[in-house]
């Protein structure tokens, strides 16, 4: 029996189905990502687990207990909202302490745990600041500390990194993963960024139109996409004669599919090619090894390993 079990979960808003028969088992300590395009029902799923949206049908069980019978305030889940939802009139310390106050933790222990949590997210020096006086990344970390400090049974993260710039996002991804490893909290992350999902998760749930198209490890979903949607959503893909081939699996060789290089783009650690062939335009990604590569207009031959 899974730690957290979503059983045939559905949510309809009027005539529209936001989540459609989603079933998912999450193991204790696991890091799971809900991945999919905008409007596919990720937030709705998360809000149903949190208790702020009532499912139209289906069940949610946490450690065998019916979670839908428990009030949101009693579920003991840590949530980081997309907008952070920090309490604007409280300092970072007061924000983090709020959940412990609600649990009736004594002042001394509370102070110690709040300080530890802020230290964990690297904000020890900012404890006395109000949210307005913190950068987006710092606010996000306060929200994370606030969710973690109550030692939640599950950590729910709704696109927590989407407001950050690329560099900070990458740093925060590494930090988030490290924190999750250290604390060991079962985590569900909502994101529409496939790179983020693959970088962080033990397993990804690729969602489309309210349904789970595939639930698998990132590597498995990438290498063996269950549907055409999953293949196209997880990175670039070529369809050559009806077969899906990843661009980085295609190599230049002495013989193979004949083509002409249309464009060649240098991207630092790799080259990105667009090659005209009899089967249409093919995208090729090659590692930059420092060797000379075919130029634009050159005639090339493409080969790839056949895969299931």
């Amino acid at each position: 029996m899974a730690f957290l079990a979503l059983d045939n979960l559905s949510k309809r808003f009027g005539t529209q189905t936001a989540v459609d028969g989603l079933s998912l088992g999450v193991e204790k300590g696991e890091f799971i990502s809900l991945l999919g395009p905008s409007g596919c029902g990720k937030t709705t799923t998360l809000q149903m687990i949190a208790g702020f949206v009532e499912p139209s049908s289906g069940a949610i069980r946490l450690e065998g207990e019916d979670l839908l019978a428990v009030k949101p305030a009693k579920r003991g889940l840590g949530i980081v909202f997309q907008s952070y939802a920090l309490f604007p009139h409280m300092t970072a310390t007061e924000n983090v302490a709020f959940g412990l106050e609600m649990q009736g933790i004594a002042a001394a222990e509370r102070a110690r745990r709040v300080a530890d949590a802020l230290e964990l997210v690297g904000l020890g020096a900012f404890a006395a600041r109000y949210p307005r006086q913190l950068s987006g990344g710092q606010q996000q970390r306060v929200a994370l500390a606030r969710a973690l400090v109550i030692r939640p049974r599950i950590l729910l993260l709704d696109e927590p990194l989407s407001n950050l710039d690329a560099k900070l996002r990458e740093e925060m991804q590494i930090e988030l993963r490290q924190i999750q490893r250290t604390v060991g909290t079962t985590t569900i992350l909502v994101t529409h960024d496939q790179a983020e999902a693959m970088a962080l998760s033990d397993r990804v749930v690729v969602m489309n139109k309210g349904r789970a198209e595939q639930i698998a490890t990132p590597l498995e979903a990438y290498e063996h996409p269950a549907t055409a949607f999953v293949a196209s959503f997880l990175g670039k893909t070529n369809l050559v004669n009806g077969v899906a081939v990843r661009p980085e699996r295609i190599a230049f060789a002495a013989a193979g599919l004949v083509g002409t290089v249309r464009t060649r783009i240098f991207q630092g650690n790799h080259w990105l090619y667009q090659v005209d062939t009899a089967s249409g335009l093919v995208t090729v990604i090659r590692q930059n090894t420092g060797d000379a590569m075919p130029e634009e207009g050159a005639a090339v031959h493409l080969v790839w390993e056949a895969r299931a």
Partner: protein, 283 residues
């Protein structure tokens, strides 16, 4: 050109000076003039009027009444207006507009009609309000309305409440509903969410609403004039009487200037307090 903005502001400045600064200055000068029943106003410099106002307990009582009424009106406006604003901010599209109109309604009705309406509602032992209160056992004898502070407070709360509601509503507009959800998820009950999360965020709105309501209540004229008449006077009706009935302009000027100075001190002080308390939290 550097002076252009100043030149552009000049017409407005001149108008401001002409209709505010100059009459105000003249009023202040007036407070030092002498006045007699038969000789009228004499342009001399004496402190007689100021002495009279500060030595006669009648004036102290009257100012006390003015500010007591203003304080009560502010208090009731906040107690009723803030929850009203919260409910309003949670309403959906058609209802919000309708109820906003209901709240702004009093501002659209003539002060005479409104006050008369209240007088009828109380209206001795036969009035609806008095009947209801007596039925409920809250009072034994009918509450008098005309010529009482109760009447003034009730009528002023009615007309000044919209300012409080709008001010709090504006503050609540910035409130992210997810913030309340965040508090709930951390284990807070509805009462705690209200007290610890919503109220503190509405506080700047309540305080600025209170400043507006207090200033308007303390300087209100029409409502106290109709309800209090010449029997129960507040600062503004007293000044009016001195100007237009007794014709003792210098004394009326002292009352008017004192009211203005007191209000400016209170309003500026309250603003300072709000700034100091909430400056770093909200922008």
């Amino acid at each position: 050109m550097k002076s252009t903005p100043y030149l552009l502001a000049l017409p407005a400045l001149l108008l401001f000076a002409a209709i505010v600064i100059v009459p105000l200055g003249m009023t202040v000068v007036l407070t030092f003039h002498d006045w007699g029943q038969y000789k009228g106003i004499e342009p001399v410099f004496i402190l007689k009027n100021w002495r009279e106002v500060f030595s006669d307990s009648y004036y102290a009582e009257m100012f006390e009444r003015t500010f007591r009424i203003a304080l009560l009106v502010t208090l009731f406006s906040a107690v009723f207006g803030a929850p009203e604003a919260y409910i309003l901010s949670r309403m959906r599209s058609p209802w919000r507009g309708i109820f906003l109109l209901v709240i702004l309604g009093p501002l659209l009705i003539s002060v005479v009609a409104r006050t008369l309406g209240w007088a009828l509602l109380f209206g001795g032992s036969e009035g609806l309000v008095n009947k209801a209160l007596m039925e409920l056992g809250l009072i034994d004898t009918p509450l008098p309305f005309m010529f009482t502070e109760t009447g003034m407070v009730v009528a002023l709360v009615h007309v000044l409440m919209p300012y409080m509601v709008l001010s709090v509503w504006a503050a609540l507009q910035r409130l992210d509903p997810q913030v309340e959800n965040a508090a709930i998820a951390l284990g807070a009950g509805p009462f705690t969410v209200m007290r610890r999360i919503v109220l503190p965020q509405a506080m700047p709105g309540i305080l600025s609403g209170a400043v507006i309501v207090f200033a308007l209540a303390a300087s209100a004229f029409a409502t106290p004039a109709i309800i209090g008449g010449r029997r129960l006077k507040v600062a503004s009706t007293l000044a009016y009487d001195e100007f237009l009935n007794t014709l003792n302009w210098p004394l009326g000027a002292v009352v008017a200037v004192l009211l203005l100075v007191a209000l400016v001190i209170i309003v500026v002080g309250a603003n300072r307090l709000v700034e100091r308390r909430y400056g770093q939290v909200f922008r």
